[in-house]
Amino acid sequence: MKKLLIIPIVLITLFFTGCWDVVEINERIFVTAVGLDLNKDPNLEGEYLLTYVYPNVGNIKDGTSQKESKFIKMTVVQTPFQGSRQLMTRLDKPLYFKHMKVIVIGEELFKDSGKMKEFFDGVGRDPRMNRKIKIVVAEGNAEDVLSTKTEEELVIGGYLNSMLQSHKAAARFTNQTFSNMMKEFDFSNASMAPRAVPKKEEFKLSGAAVLKDYKLVGWLGEVENSLIALTKGEVVSEIFTTTYKDTLVSYVITDTFPKKVVNVDKEDINVDINIYTEGYIQEYKYQTDTSTFDEEFLKTVEKRLEKNIERQLKEIIAKLQKDYKADVLGIGEHICKFEPKLWKEVKDDWENVFPNLNININAKVKVRRTGLTR
């Protein structure tokens, strides 16, 4: 009798199980990138223009089919998170954001701090989005960046993502994740994000957007960005040049060790940023009598590089302090962590304290190798 009971139990477990939430993987649309812009078309109601990019999954399977490798959908909505609902009227499958990699935000939209705060709050709340989503600010429209045709990678979201991840040119733009950006805003109300510049057939990532109070206040160029990356120790490989006897000498930085020292004398807060870099000589001049194996040559080159870095950084910092008033160097964060007493005094007034800091740059350059020739 007891053995007979097993049969109904087995049947029940087989037929009475179910799942409300099951959505098969081929029934989902994996959005890889989203672009946000202000809507400029007066005929359409809504403030945001959203661009969704997702791969043509069928195409990935077939390999070399001639079909479009990605789809781009655009919609105009009142709030960014309405976008995916709005698109349900035009798509057969639900959008799925768990594997979203990049958010591109248009320049005009990022100038509205209120809207950005709302949007970032929404991202923070959504349990389905990864907090390591990369944020990119587009010069012009995010739409243009995302609709660029790319050859190499199948999907633009993936393409942009691998661009951001590659460290070879990392100093020209610096990767920024949502979670890190929020952290920087929390500490000093200022942050940076890489800039994407759309061109006709392509787009490039170069420089950075300077953000303050969730608002775009200005841009930094490629070189400026690499110098700021230097103070943060984020440079993996970057060339700096100087002249020696009227010849350009290129120096490749392979390692940076920045250190911030804060001390207070009387009223002033002094911040010393000590940058120690190591690297090798990439090019000099080929001549029978020139040699890089020369104590005097190396010393002079090192000195000049140091001077160069210090001078350029000073200009940038002056710009940050006076024009942008944005502490993207992470000085506030540093003080908060290592000088908590001082931070307690200045944190409420950090907006006004930062422009008046005495920031000194001390660069130390070491040429460790000179390549294969003398």
Binding site: D21, G124, G158
Partner: protein
């Protein structure tokens, strides 16, 4: 209750750890950070220490009435009628705590995993599953704790390992800046995260080596503290203090911070969720068991198992009362706190004092 079932000391330890760690660990890092900022770890350590005297009292009582459970020897101490009131308070406390835990469980599962599944179904299936283990003996529950503990330990380890690459330990700084008032508030919050260890009121009666019972209980609390500390440090160094304060369930949200290489293998929140479901199960199981035991002691029955199924609908009804997550974390949590002051601290303390006085009279 069979006479021959015994709880070994290592099982007791596992039982304490798994009963303690449940729904509380999700919110603990952020609630403690809200009270004490970066110095929250001090609160966690102090909270663990503050629990120890009460663990000692419970052990002392068990020692004086060896072989009997709290809900039986209580009658001998303060008399049948008075202890009935005690028992009712304890029963009410357990019902509300289980209801709170299962409601939080339902809310979390709904947010992170099963969006469309009705909350009621999530809660009811969990309650039914738990009632299965609650119907077995204390020995069965202890064995289950010992089986599940390694799973929890390994998951904690994996959770630390996968988040290591993105941890920024400078977020821990400044590590010990806190005022005395904040320490008081923080410790108070942490104290209630140790709710669950009161299973020893029953388990101690069945302990194998009663000489080492106190040591095992203390060790159980110690390991709980350790796991709380790990979760605090990892979430803090991952989120940074400002973001941590904003999170409702930092220990689970942390899975959104993890960025493993590759396009599709990230988002491993399922792993952590699975372990957490077990942790909730091992918190609710012993509590539901205790509820059954209290009822069987009230009605003087030999078995407790039929009471377990009877309380499931009551728990379910209580769990559906709060209207929103905010209400759960303000009102319901508050009721549990007030009740737990009695059940964890006052109740055992009163019994100990009365029984000591009685002994004094006799000699």
């Amino acid at each position: 209750m069979e006479k021959n079932d015994r709880v070994s000391n290592i099982q007791l330890q596992a039982l304490i750890i798994t009963s303690n760690i449940g729904a509380g660990i999700l919110a603990l890092p952020s609630s403690v950070a809200n009270a004490m900022d970066n110095a929250g770890w001090i609160g966690i350590v102090l909270g663990g220490l503050a629990i120890l005297p009460f663990v000692y009292i419970m052990n002392k009582l068990a020692e004086m009435y060896r072989g009997k459970i709290f809900y039986d020897y209580g009658k001998d101490i303060v008399g049948n009628t008075v202890f009935k009131i005690f028992s009712l308070i304890y029963l009410g406390y357990f019902l509300i705590v289980i209801a709170l835990v299962v409601r939080i469980f339902g809310e979390v599962i709904k947010v992170f995993l099963l969006e469309n599944t009705p909350l009621e179904v999530i809660m009811f299936t969990m309650l039914l599953t738990t009632s299965y283990i609650a119907r077995s003996s204390i020995e069965g529950i202890s064995r289950m704790a010992l089986v599940i503990l390694p799973i929890l330990a390994i998951t904690t380890l994996v959770f630390v390992l996968v988040s290591l690459p993105t941890l920024d330990f400078t977020n821990l700084l400044p590590i010990a800046r806190v005022s005395l008032k904040d320490i008081y508030h923080g410790t108070k919050i942490v104290f209630f995260s140790y709710i669950g260890f009161e299973i020893i009121l029953i388990a101690l009666a069945y302990i194998e080596d009663s000489g080492k019972a106190l040591k095992s209980s203390f060790l159980g609390i110690f390991y709980t503290t350790l796991i709380y500390l790990i979760s605090f440090f990892v979430t803090l160094s991952q989120f940074g203090i400002h973001e941590l304060k904003k999170q409702i369930w930092p220990s689970l949200s942390i899975m959104r911070e993890i960025d493993l290489p590759g396009f599709f293998i990230e988002n491993i929140d399922g792993l952590l969720m699975a372990a957490w479901v077990l942790a909730v199960f091992t918190t609710m199981g012993p509590m539901m068991y205790t509820g059954g035991v209290i009822l069987s002691s009230l009605f003087n029955t030999k078995k407790h198992d039929f009471f377990v199924l009877a309380i499931v609908p009551i728990i379910y009804a209580i769990a559906t009362i709060p209207e929103s997550l905010t209400e759960i974390y303000t009102n319901m949590d508050l009721i549990v706190r007030y009740l737990s002051i009695f059940t964890l601290a006052l109740g055992p303390m009163i019994l100990l004092i009365v029984s000591l006085l009685k002994r004094g009279e006799k000699t």
